[in-house]
Amino acid sequence: MSADFLYTLEVILNGLMAGVMYSLVALGFVLIFKASGIFNYAQGVMALFAAMTLVGLQSGQIPFAHLINAIFGTDLHHFGWQMPALLAIILTVGVMVLFAIIVEKYILHHLVNQEPIILFMATIGLAYFMEGFGDIMWGSEIKTMDVGIPSGGSFWLEEVTMTWAAEGERYWGMYIDKLDVVATLVALVLVISLTLFSQYTKTGRALRAVADDHQAALSVGISLRTIWVIVWSIAGFVALVAGIMWGSKSGVQFSLSLIALKALPVLMLGGFTSIPGAIIGGLIIGVGEKLFEFAIGSVYLGGATENWFAYVLALVFLVFRPQGLFGEKIIERV
């Protein structure tokens, strides 16, 4: 095989992996949108907040230390313990469930029957609130996350792929981050278990009923409030998974919340209401932007096309298919 072909293959593989990461965020969006019709802009910040909480718990940071120090003139920073990763993850899930309950009780409950745009704005407000809250609670410096996921390139793969290249070609093997492979597996497990959950459990059926029609679901005795808490908890859990993956990859920092913006074109491609759509949309975006950058962007356009390519791709795509790949057909009546 020629080196060019192998390079392209490597780009595609890395694109697929990046796409999986986008899908992880998009998944949380889809879950909430399906169950409550809310376009949850705060999903990215939820991922950031979950990751911050996890790191904070793990390293035994004192919450609000900065604030307390500023008010009382003390000098607190750490409890001085190291929590095992698993325990910290479980506690973080607890925090996200608590968060879901609070959101339902104090925000969504008061906004029932409002227009979608108002709910969307409310989640933007929520995103701002959580961004500031997370920073005050855990500090805004960049943190490293270590929950024991392997990372770095795989030498084994590099050696294997090196032998694929044709004789005399200078090719040094493929670089694929182990972390990305783990992320792919985790995403796979997540999607399968979510699908099983929504297809075969009673709660899952209730979720789908609510997604179909709020009022009909209410009339057969499904508690909307419970369902919303459950959905937001699951979305919080998905956010945590995304936060762990992204946090291990590039550190826990503010830019983590911006991946929510990257998940938007993924959603547009896949359709707001489809879980497989979120995955496939993510893969298309991931491969598309990496290939475009590799073949055209860095050669003719001066690079950094990844910033906008996904949006433009989604835009062009939507002009031909306004409801996305797998979205429900939009039927409008007067």
């Binding site: 929520l126 906008w308 409008e332």
Partner: protein
Amino acid sequence: MFYRESGDFKKTYQEDGQTFPIRFDRWRYWVILAIAFLVFPFFMNDYFANAVMIPFLVWAIAALGLNILTGYCGQLSLGTGGFMAVGAYATYKIMTAFPGMDMFSVIILSGFVTAGVGVLFGLPSLRIKGFYLAVATLAAQFFLIWLFNKVPWFYNNSASGQINAPERDIFGIVITGPHATPLATYLFCLIVAVALAWVARNLTRGRLGRSWMAIRDMDIAAEIIGVNPLKAKLSAFAVSSFFVGVAGSLLFSVYLGAAEVTDTFGINVSFMVLFMIIIGGLGSIFGSFVGAAFMVLMPVLLKNILVGGLGWPTDLAAHLEYIIVGGLIIIFLIVEPHGLAQMARVLKEKLRLWPFPH
């Protein structure tokens, strides 16, 4: 008592359609204008102009622009930052290419350039609706920022990638650059803002504005009664982008004097302007000004109280600002989803009936 018409005495369409049907409102409007034009200039100092009034006026123009698109025509846009960047860079190019041109022409020309770009990015709105459109406008935001970063022609190949406003005047009064006085820049912004608000008010209550509102309320129904969606949507994009472009142009040339595209016109700007029109009130000219005032004044106030008054570190105050902005937005949406303008409207209705509400 004083705040009402004592019955329905309107005899002409002109009386029926006037902006301030109540005499008190009319007087209040003139008094506010008089204070802005005749009283404030005497108190104008550097801090008051640069920290409060000029940002308020500039952001109010941007909010007006977005309100025309989102509040009146119902097309959600997250590309405001990108369009403001178009206005700013157009200003820069015009200023450097035609050094003799006065600032009014520069700003109006930049507005037209932005309107053209806005129409281009508004084209997908004919096919895409709602949230899908919001994400599509993000394409404009990111693409435009990238473009201004990557093509050296836009920043005249300057080494830092920044654009700096050279000194320009109108009628011999310096408006931009380091020698501009706070008074001159304030009055300049004020004149532009008042003129644009007048244009916006009269556009939105005319035929064009009514066609926008018809599209907002239900586009298919509007199409059936004979509103041309192509014309309505694209004109909304054009007018809105014109306003936003002028705001970007003023922000760069008069207020900041220099700009770096990612910092000054990033996605945060788009959200900030969106917050202004939510807090102020969608579909209200008055609301755009109130929302802008709120978003400009609150950080100044918070900073004065927390950093100046309590001596907290600046970063803590900044985080707290996020919390307060986010919390207030949620509270506003819960208490009054239609913003401060709606609160004013409700108050007005109550005042009309007071003290005999039955």
